[in-house]
């Protein structure tokens, strides 16, 4: 499972993506958030942002959602294009 970070989230974490597989594979978004939060203060801070957006397979998701090995998850701030 690929997890991607964009814009201010990417910069705050100092990384654009990470991978989960095998036994570490989270079953759902809540489990993924927990696994990420365990990586340190920067992750905890980002995950606590009230307006953080989460997308699963390139579609925005609110709340929890089941995850599988081939899924692509992304975390990013509110969009500001156009």
């Amino acid at each position: 499972m690929r997890v991607l970070f964009f814009a201010s989230v990417r910069e705050r974490l100092g990384t654009a993506e990470c991978e989960f597989d095998g036994e570490a594979l989270p079953a759902d978004l809540d489990a993924l958030r927990e696994a990420l939060a365990a990586r340190g203060d920067a992750f905890r801070e980002v995950l606590a942002q009230p307006n953080l957006v989460c997308a699963v397979n390139q579609a925005v998701v609110h709340g929890n959602a089941a995850l599988g090995p081939g899924d692509e998850v992304a975390f990013f701030p509110p969009v500001t294009g156009g």
Binding site: P77, G81, G82
Partner: protein, 166 residues
């Protein structure tokens, strides 16, 4: 209906895009109206230190999001063609950022689809702007006004009805 969506680093030519839109509009004699929007890197008034923007995006999701907006526009209004071009990467003050064009038989549809597409691009497509100054950089914050503008389209039946009457 003809449509296109391009996400690119390169600059674009609004005239060529408008010509492509018309070429896709049933041979050019079916369209009575073409509305376009071009967004540019604006230098904040008096801010001489401002050196421009960088635009980051989420490859793959961006194209999906834009296509979904164009699907929505095509459902809401009677269009002959619609197109979007959005640049990414480093952009100097005055540079073109985004172009939206809509061609229709009647102007109500062209105007509404063009403005709707811009409002949704601003709030639903995964692009992020970072502003740069000599020695400083800051991610642009999402604007409440953009969300309000996008929310107007939830009750857009009036506009559609008006344009159908033409």
């Amino acid at each position: 209906m003809h449509r296109f969506c391009r996400v690119q680093q390169a600059d674009f030519d609004p005239a060529a895009l408008q010509a492509a839109l018309l070429a896709g509009s049933g041979g050019g004699e079916a369209a009575g109206a073409v509305a376009t929007f071009t967004g540019l890197v604006r230098r904040p008034p008096g801010d001489e230190a401002f050196t421009g923007l960088t635009i980051e995006h989420y490859p793959g999701m961006t194209e999906r999001a834009v296509e979904a907006i164009l699907d929505d526009a095509a459902q809401r209004w009677s269009l002959l063609a619609i197109g979007v071009v959005h640049r990414i990467g480093e952009l100097a003050p005055g540079a073109r950022i985004v172009w939206v064009g809509a061609a229709a038989a009647h102007r109500g549809d062209a105007f509404a689809a063009c403005e709707f597409t811009m409002d949704y691009l601003k709030t639903r497509a995964p692009f992020w702007k970072k502003e740069h100054w000599a020695g400083e950089a800051r991610w642009v914050e999402a604007r409440r006004g953009d969300l309000d503008r996008a929310a107007r389209w939830a009750g857009a039946a009036d506009t559609t009805t008006a344009s159908r009457q033409e």
